[in-house]
Amino acid sequence: MKVLDVKDIAVKYGDLQALWGISFSVKKGQLVALIGANGAGKTTTLKSICGLAPLASGQIAYNDRVISGSPVHQVVDLGITLVPEGRQLFAKMTVEENLLVGAYLKRTHAKRAQTLKHVYSLFPRLEERRNQTAETLSGGEQQMVAIGRALMQDPQVIMFDEPSLGLAPLMVQEVFNVIQELHRQGLTIFLVEQNVHQTLKVADYCYVMENGRIVGEGTGKQLEADESIREAYLGF
């Protein structure tokens, strides 16, 4: 069953076209990855799904319901969430406040104490630092807050935009572990990454993007085997 169905979407920033009619889908419980070089349009794709970047054409459906054109706060209310690139935390708020904003929606507000407990059990380090402001955390801890904040929304689909960006290797590993753990728990995951090896290893299915277009797809194994894709887009 397709949870997320993206059909032929195009996005323009003024005169600049960022996406040129791309289509793909994510099935329930899958971990799907989108890879490609800087500036290929991966972040724009994520933004357009959550309603942060308006579509010039095309359509996005979530559980067979058209969501393109809805404002972001309505989209996330349906159960899609994004862990944005560079974390985008509320820098001057404490860790706990950051997490609580995640439970802003009516849908999640009532059981927020419970969800918070769950998040803290997932990231015990955050509980230790609950009263520190987000800006004082290390990059890895910030990433945990960003993921925790997304989990507070009780999502069905969680999208990650370069979660390993700028993290130390150990930390990268930890982030990938968390992603896999969430996947095991049954969450549908859409992952955008530059850390190609790790990504191909964990993903059920991958799309390769270049210059606003999808130029290849397949399972991790298939892509790793595809010399031309390796050569041209993965850079090794």
Binding site: D15, G139, E162, P169, V196, N211
Partner: protein, 241 residues
Amino acid sequence: MPEPILKVDSVTKCFGGLTAVNNVSFQVQPGEIVGLLGPNGAGKTTLFNVISGYYAPTSGSITFKGQDISGKQPYTLATHGIGRTFQVVKPFAGLSVLENVVIASFLRYPKRADAERHAWQILESTGLADRANLSAASLTLAGRKRLEIGKALALEPSFLLLDEVVAGLNPTEADRTVELILQLKQQGMTILIVEHIMRVIMNISDRLVVLNFGEKIAEGAAAEVAKNPLVIEAYLGEAAA
């Protein structure tokens, strides 16, 4: 060994508690293309900003053509002959493509007519002449990156800092830009380049300097560096190691 054109000597740059660049040293010889590598967030752009005068180094020094330039303002460095491009290209959006370049040409040609003539030459050589009178905001990403190089070239620099001028371009466009860079090298330009696309940087660089977490982890010829396990780990993730 000839006198290096640029000498980065144990440069450290801290922001509050965060050390973005930590005790980095390297040299660039005249006529060389040196690639600066490192994963996202490794401190490449910060180092660029320190070299081009946007940040003063917290400690260490930078010597350009034998002169200590650490802490000097970017506009002073431009007159010394350092040109740079920005990773996030921001042309002067309200102005035309020609005007964008003319502004840079003023540095060497203070008269408007001369500057315009010079700017036209730059536009010809960067393949933007046919779009000279369009507003810079209307250019495509490739066009903007090209304009960014054009502006830096209009300063008639002896040393160029290129920050991701290829990233985001399609293969044809990327090839054209690489061609342009190689052409510049032939003309005797010294270049320090940051680039993500390996295939590009491996091809054009004489030497590579690799950063990770603000520290230099490797330096040397491309083939050598590519075999360095530290680099592979930093760059491709541990799986490749």
